[in-house]
């Protein structure tokens, strides 16, 4: 019988879970496979964040601070679980880290292994990975973290910038039929950032639907009203290089007819997928996954943060695409569920 909770994944969800357990006085171990905490936003150097356009550095720092030097909380980076045995109340977990292998006991496990970006090379029609000026929103986050936006091929400031929504999402041909949920809002923010850095840039967003759901709608309005970002309803079918620019071929479905126009930089809104780390942990713990590969809760109405496997709790973007505010809320929620679970067992 162990009183400790193991948290797998040090992104927004895992960090919130770890800090909450420390606040509750529950012993915990946080393992993160990358050298640094902060999850995907940290790993790929996100720029300004939805919903309030604050720099990612600024919002991640307090999340990381809250897990540092806390009593009863061990933080291991560069480490990941390699084997799990036992059951709820007494899991035996083998960890591989920089200091070699170790085994620890845990009464409960929180899985917060997050997501990976869709690899846009899988959608061959856009030439990602072939034409340097075709980038995706992950590359764009890094590019926008620099003082000036430059296009990769020649370091020039791009004058005509286009975004293509739903790349790797809502598409049977690439095998992902779900909506990645964040990309519409993220592209609105990135378009605003392009305009802020270079007000004379012409920025277009090619869309099928705009899903800036709930309160995020204001980003869509702001991009349009205050920054003059143009929204074109339709789809881009192919991108080809021509005379040092990108020739973008698509259909404007409102005008009913195809277009062929040059751009300096094209940004693909590649979506979110369950990452390799999530798949690995799902196999280790025998966790159910829904048809798209995300982790499936025991009951999405009454137990949205619990796995069907007793003693295992779930939080963050490994459950479904979502923003980090939801991931943080779920991390805290999973921590409470795990603490309550351990307490109920101890009382028995």
């Amino acid at each position: 019988m162990s009183e400790a909770v193991l948290i797998i994944g040090g992104g927004p969800a895992g960090l919130a879970a770890a800090a909450s357990l420390a606040d509750l006085g529950v012993e915990a171990v946080l393992v993160e496979k990358e050298p640094e905490l902060g999850g995907t936003p940290k790993k790929y150097a996100y720029s300004k964040l939805v919903p309030d356009l604050r720099p990612a550095q600024e919002t991640l720092a307090p999340l990381v601070q809250r897990v540092q030097g806390r009593e009863g909380l061990r933080v291991l980076t560069d480490a990941r679980p390699t084997a799990v045995s036992g059951k709820a109340g007494d899991f035996k977990v083998r960890l591989a880290g920089p200091a070699g292998e170790e085994e620890l006991s845990a009464g409960a496990i929180i899985v917060a292994t997050g997501f990976e970006h869709f690899d846009a090379r899988r959608d061959t029609k856009y030439g990602y990975g072939i034409y340097p000026d075709v980038v995706d929103i992950r590359d764009m986050e890094r590019m926008l973290s620099e003082p000036q936006l430059k296009r990769p091929s020649d370091g020039q400031v791009p004058q005509r910038v286009g975004f293509i929504l739903c790349v790797g999402s809502r598409d049977r041909m690439v095998g992902n039929t779900y909506c990645s949920r964040v990309c519409c809002s993220v592209c609105c923010v990135q378009a605003i950032e392009v305009k802020e850095k270079n007000p004379s840039a012409e920025v277009y967003i090619f869309y099928m639907d705009i899903r800036t759901y709930g309160l995020l709608e204001n980003l869509y309005w702001e991009a349009q009203e205050e920054h003059g970002v143009l929204f074109v309803k339709g789809r881009v079918g192919e991108i080809l290089p021509r005379d040092g620019q990108l020739m973008v071929k698509g259909e404007d479905t409102l005008l009913r007819g195809p277009f062929e126009v040059p751009f300096d930089l094209m940004v693909l809104a590649s979506g979110m997928e369950p990452g390799e780390g999530t798949v690995q942990v799902a196999e280790l713990l025998n966790l159910a996954r829904e048809p798209n590969g995300f982790l499936a809760p025991r009951d999405s109405h009454t137990a949205p943060l619990e796995a069907a496997v007793e003693g295992v709790f779930l939080a963050g973007a490994d459950l479904a695409p979502k923003f980090s505010d939801d991931a943080v809320a779920e991390g805290a929620g999973a921590a409470v569920r795990a603490a309550a679970f351990l307490r109920s067992r101890a009382g028995r």
Binding site: K125, C166, R170, D171, R172, M173, M208, G234, R235, V236, G237, E238, K249, G250, E251, D252, T253, R256, G257, P258
Partner: protein, 238 residues
């Protein structure tokens, strides 16, 4: 009246059959002939045929038309569109789903112009298979408005029919030759490239087999089926 609707300022925006004009028009005893007798038919659509989608789906290859969400990937990828600007698979699918027979009838002679490159079907995010849905829509258009389809489409059908009804198979080599002859381009058959390929195929004896495919297997039964089909089609298109 010289030109129909010549008094209309934005004439290009108005379709011919919406313009109503008379040589002489007298309303309540006042002669309003001339500029004042131009009227426009209302543009409000009232007539839809919702069964059109079911007709397309019933053709098998049109089965997945329901999936379409009008994104435009097919038209964005289309080869035929650059030659025939009105050829827009997404738009045709929309008209069929709405049952807008009026607009579809006007485009009857454009619908069949797909060149079969299949780029749309390769890229359609919903796996509608637009290339084959267009084939199904083409069949429906032929059934309903066959008389509106241009005669060019008939180029080569003579040779097609002769081969299918005569042997039960298509011989692409002789078909191409027949088409080029029909278009008065037979010289292209004697180009250096064709001659080079021809010599090579002659040497390894492929030429002989290619030109004489012979009849399809099970010809006696197949022939009866084809005859029956021909009769049923002649009832539709005498």
């Amino acid at each position: 009246m010289a030109v129909k609707g010549e008094g209309i300022v934005e004439r290009s925006l108005v379709e011919d059959d919406h313009i109503l004009e008379q040589e002489k028009l007298i309303i309540e005893g006042v002669d309003v002939s001339g500029r004042w007798n131009t009227f426009l038919a209302p543009r409000v659509q009232e007539d839809y045929t919702p069964s059109l989608e079911a007709e397309v789906r019933a053709l098998g290859v049109g089965e997945n038309i329901r999936r379409c969400w009008q994104c435009g990937m097919c038209t964005a990828s289309c080869t035929a569109n650059s030659v025939y600007p009105d050829f827009n698979p997404r738009h045709f699918i929309y008209l069929v789903k709405l049952g807008d027979v009026q607009r579809l009838a006007k485009l009857a002679d454009v619908v069949w112009r797909c060149v079969g490159c299949y780029k749309c079907s390769q890229r359609c995010p919903r796996e509608v298979n637009p290339a084959e849905v267009m084939e199904a829509i083409g069949v429906i258009v032929h059934r309903r408005w066959g008389e509106r389809v241009a005669r060019e489409e008939q180029v080569g059908t003579g040779a097609y029919k002769k081969q299918i009804y005569g042997t039960g198979r298509l011989n692409l080599a002789t078909l191409m030759a027949a088409d080029l002859r029909g278009l008065g381009r037979q010289r292209e058959l004697l180009s250096a490239e064709q001659m080079r390929i021809g010599m090579k195929m002659f040497r390894d004896s492929r030429l002989f087999h290619t030109l004489r495919l012979g009849r399809a297997p099970g010809w006696s039964r197949l022939r009866r089926v084809l005859e029956e089909h021909r009769r049923s089609r002649e009832e539709v298109h005498p």
